[in-house]
Amino acid sequence: MPFTDYYKTLGIPKTATDEDIKKAYRKLARKLHPDLNPNDKEANKKFQQINEANEVLSDPEKRKKYDQYGEDWEKAGQYEKANQSGTGQGRRTGNPFSNFSGGQEFEGDQEFNGGKYSDFFEQMFGSGSRNTKFKGGDYQAELNLSLRDAAKTHSQTLTVNAQNIRITIPAGVENGQVIRLKNHGAPGANGGPQGDLYITFVISPDTVFKRSGNDLYVIIQLPLYTAVLGGEVLVDTLDGKIKLKVNPETQNGLKTRLKGKGFPIYKKEGQFGDLFVTYNVLIPQNLSQQEKDLFTELSKMK
């Protein structure tokens, strides 16, 4: 467990006054506050660090203890233990960042842990204690969906802190779209309200379709003879394959639009974007001598 230099965290000297600490903390908090840095895990981590530093340095008793033991924090743990058994006070659990109530907490995918003090802090000071009611922290989670799952309204059950939450995901959600589930975040401190759960949808790329907004794009391989003479090809759509008429003399790279065959529009039932089909004309390979002769003959006609 490494020693944490709280003065360095706040960028102040050890001789800093209470006012210096307050100023340094406020300046950094304005820069790193989760409300001003949505979905920025790095900023949130730093914000927790400056909170912890402020918690210690702005409290004269904690600061004194921190200054006294410094890097010998292990001795401070023994001191704390002795102190607690002497006064009969146990450690308290709860929202450690009670001075900053509603800041979002950014955790890894599908992890739902509350904000924490560092091990260093807990060793020296326990988990902190305040009596004011505060709202619990907000949880962040990512929900991975395939493109085809995102194209249909369906339900999923999430497990958050051993509690099952069933959510309905409307067709047409965007990659990166966030929904908020109220009161499914961390428990409040001292009887305060529960935080919220923010779910970000991460839609994985599809092997057949590319999506841009509500439109879908697909590339189909078109045999040279169909491109030249015209015909029909089968095209993938979200509902299955459809037959598409190909005009004679279709050029490579030509794009055609199938209206209403794209992605469902979010919360607009029965409305869809378009499907854009790009033709990739295939040049025949491994030609027989007869085919080569015929192509030669054709080339001489022009």
Partner: protein
């Protein structure tokens, strides 16, 4: 508007230890909506997360309401730019 979609302003302020004047200032800057019924003031439940965010910025970071308004505009711009970036990335993938 059904009753369950609003909360009495005074109740909210007392529970969250927020001054009513702060919410009035937010309203005057167009940041939240206060609805009036039977001489009582209510805030919309759907605005609560905004009120909570503005309260944090005001009480915890000492940012005044005009500053919150400016930040709100900047955050909106960031959100729009992020969305635009995502859309452009999606379009780029079409050509990959």
């Amino acid at each position: 508007m059904p009753d369950e979609e609003i909360i009495l302003l005074e109740t909210y302020c007392s529970y969250n230890q927020v001054e009513p004047a702060f919410l009035e200032t937010l309203e005057s800057h167009g940041l939240i909506v206060i609805s009036y019924r039977n001489n009582q003031r209510f805030i919309l439940i759907e605005d609560l997360h905004l009120v909570e965010m503005y309260s944090r910025l005001y009480y915890e970071l000492s940012i005044n309401v005009p500053g919150i308004d400016a930040l709100n505009n900047m955050l909106e711009k960031i959100r729009a730019l992020k969305q635009e970036t995502e859309n452009l990335k999606a379009r780029l993938r079409i050509y990959e």
